[in-house]
Symmetry: C2
């Protein structure tokens, strides 16, 4: 299996774009990534997207987007794994370079969520859960996460005040990220008094909907050396799944998908959780962020909020977690999120993250979820 | 790059299933493929599907389908490339085994098109074309193919009576396929007098909509030898794209996507068109079948119908084309079609195709299109 390197990244700011379509956003991120990789011509494209079929009424998305970005004739394939589509597209593209079939692949993620009425957007996003066994019976996607949060708070005796430290840190981190959707600080009282969405989840526990695109160029070692002075190695990747419906899970306090995907990625990269300096993890809701800290092995089970409170995951601390602001405050253009994470980690490892930059970033991890933990990808990157 | 082999196949009959859901169909085909590969446990799943988001209101389709088939914890990723989703999923999965990351992958395709009103289904299928530049202005998907057909008939002076030989042969071939959706003969007069759908395309030039699922198991050489007495080698694959909208194509008499994908696959397999004994090609409309004969190099450009009339593509002739009955008569459950084709070729090469079996099948080719030739995969298989 050939080694794989990230040699170019491109991202758009995340916000509500009235003036740019899905194709515009993808082209913008792709062209930036290509320029960043010294004008490389990729020989294939993989694209993560969840909702364009329903929200843009467009299929054949690979060629639809590739052509508009000026990338013609080469393979262009869309990958869907709900909110984890970006990570899944990266996984598929990794296989393309690792196999030797392709030498340089553009992996993009794009989503446009703000053009449709929010009732429609929300209902399409809920298709990440099991429609037949969950949402048709009235459980919203937020409510499913609320079940997990209530149970976690009850078993580990964690009050909401501790959970609220998550969005507090995410909003603070996002102030360093010029591309973030919500780059402003909030105080604890604002979080604690924000409206309940699905008890106990409050407004500030939820990632916003937004539009955005991100792209990275991955390449073989030979190509990487030609096109980059700072290629970022991908020593390990893992992808795993769990039951789609929560009612069929063995354990709601842990996401088995994360456990399994991380185990695979750590083992392939020959590292352990303590080696990681920086991580971008999938906090679609605060509780997912906290459970993920534990499932990735950064905290003992049930102790995530203690480590959070002690500052273990703050910028430039033991492990800088979500220095981008995470899904909560960087934003969560669903199918693009997994690519934003990898792009951000690559920039950090290159010491090229501007105001967001954290010190001593050597080994990074990106963690992307589809559904409530049903499909999970973990990607490890090394300077 | 490791060699890749097809070691198991499973297919459902194609028809309108009122009693089986998307998950049921996928599970049925998958379990058959696993049994055919001697009960193998795949270590990843790739699934081709176009329309489940819109027609079944379900995303996260990889894990949704995999779990129902009893395949838990392993990666399960959906690939979308419109009507070419099956071929694209096979392409992505091939990279997984070729890379060495996975040893045995289940590649499935599934589509359920008959549960929604046909107006909705047809409009969702039209998303394979460029919505913004084509269908929004009133060109139906059939009308786009009609433009090509009219132009082809005019340039090469081919009367409709010659084009009609295509559905004639497809319906005859389908009588040998127990899984075909339309396994009955039609006479030439019936075709010639069938209703015009989009002039000059008549009813019998169009593939039907139907429900179905197909799955194949692909594996490394080591695993293939353990699990199969008749592993089928995949010596070459190719994937290519062309402009999505017809107005941006250089040439409407040829599908550049097919040219490029075939060139790549032939070159990788070190074969040429004359070496192929059997092919399953993407005849969503008669004209696509005929143009494809030429673009794959089986006929000189403009002479496809002459060779067809002379019997070159009949069962057990020079190249047996679509012995399954093709999209026209086997049926076209869109995202599954590319997997049906590969499964059928593998069975033929194994001499295991029952009544459908053709003689001396040594080298086969599967050709799957997304849109009107916008994304094309070509897969070569060898006994």
């Amino acid at each position: 299996m050939r080694d794989v390197f990230v040699i170019g990244v491109g991202m758009t700011k995340i916000k509500a774009y009235w003036e740019k379509s899905l194709r515009n956003l993808f082209a913008e991120a792709s062209i930036k990534a290509i320029e960043d990789a010294n004008g490389i011509s990729p020989d294939a494209i993989f694209i993560g997207n969840m909702a364009a079929g329903e929200l843009d009424k467009q299929a054949n998305l690979g060629v639809y987007l590739a052509e508009y970005a000026g990338l013609k004739e080469i393979p262009a394939i869309r990958v869907e794994s709900a909110c984890g589509s970006g990570g899944a597209a990266f996984h598929a593209a990794y296989l393309g370079v690792a196999s030797g079939m392709y030498n340089a692949i553009l992996v993009g993620g794009v989503e446009k969520l703000t053009e449709t009425p929010s009732m429609i957007t929300t209902s399409v996003l809920a298709e990440a859960a099991d429609q037949e066994y969950e949402t048709y019976f009235g459980a919203s996607f937020t409510a499913l996460n609320a079940l997990i949060m209530r149970y976690y708070m009850s078993v580990f005796k964690v009050p909401y005040e501790k959970i609220a430290l998550w969005p507090l840190m995410m909003h603070e981190n996002a102030t360093y990220n010029p591309l973030a959707q919500l780059p402003f600080k909030v105080d604890l009282n604002t979080i604690l008094n924000s409206p309940l969405i699905a008890d106990p989840i409050r407004l500030f526990d939820c990632a916003p909907t937004g539009d955005g695109a991100a792209a990275v160029i991955i390449a073989s070692e030979e190509i990487a050396k030609k096109h980059s002075d700072t290629p970022i190695f991908v020593p390990g990747i893992g992808f795993a799944t769990d039951s789609l419906a929560l009612s069929r899970r063995e354990n709601l306090l842990s996401l088995k998908g994360t456990n399994l995907a991380a185990k695979k990625a750590y083992s392939m990269a020959k590292v352990n959780p303590n080696d990681i300096n920086i991580a971008e993890i999938h906090d679609a809701f605060s509780i997912l962020g906290i459970i993920t800290l534990e499932d990735l092995g950064f905290s003992t089970k049930g102790e995530g909020t203690k480590d959070l409170e002690n500052g273990k995951f703050s910028r430039n601390s033991v492990i800088s977690v979500n220095p981008s602001g995470g899904l909560k405050a960087r934003g969560h253009p669903v199918g693009a999120t997994g690519i934003y994470q990898i792009a951000e980690i690559a920039l950090q490892l290159r010491q090229d993250a501007g105001k967001m930059q954290i010190d001593n970033a050597e080994l990074g991890l990106a963690h992307n979820i589809g559904g409530v933990g049903a499909s999970v990808s973990v990607t490890i990157l090394r300077r």
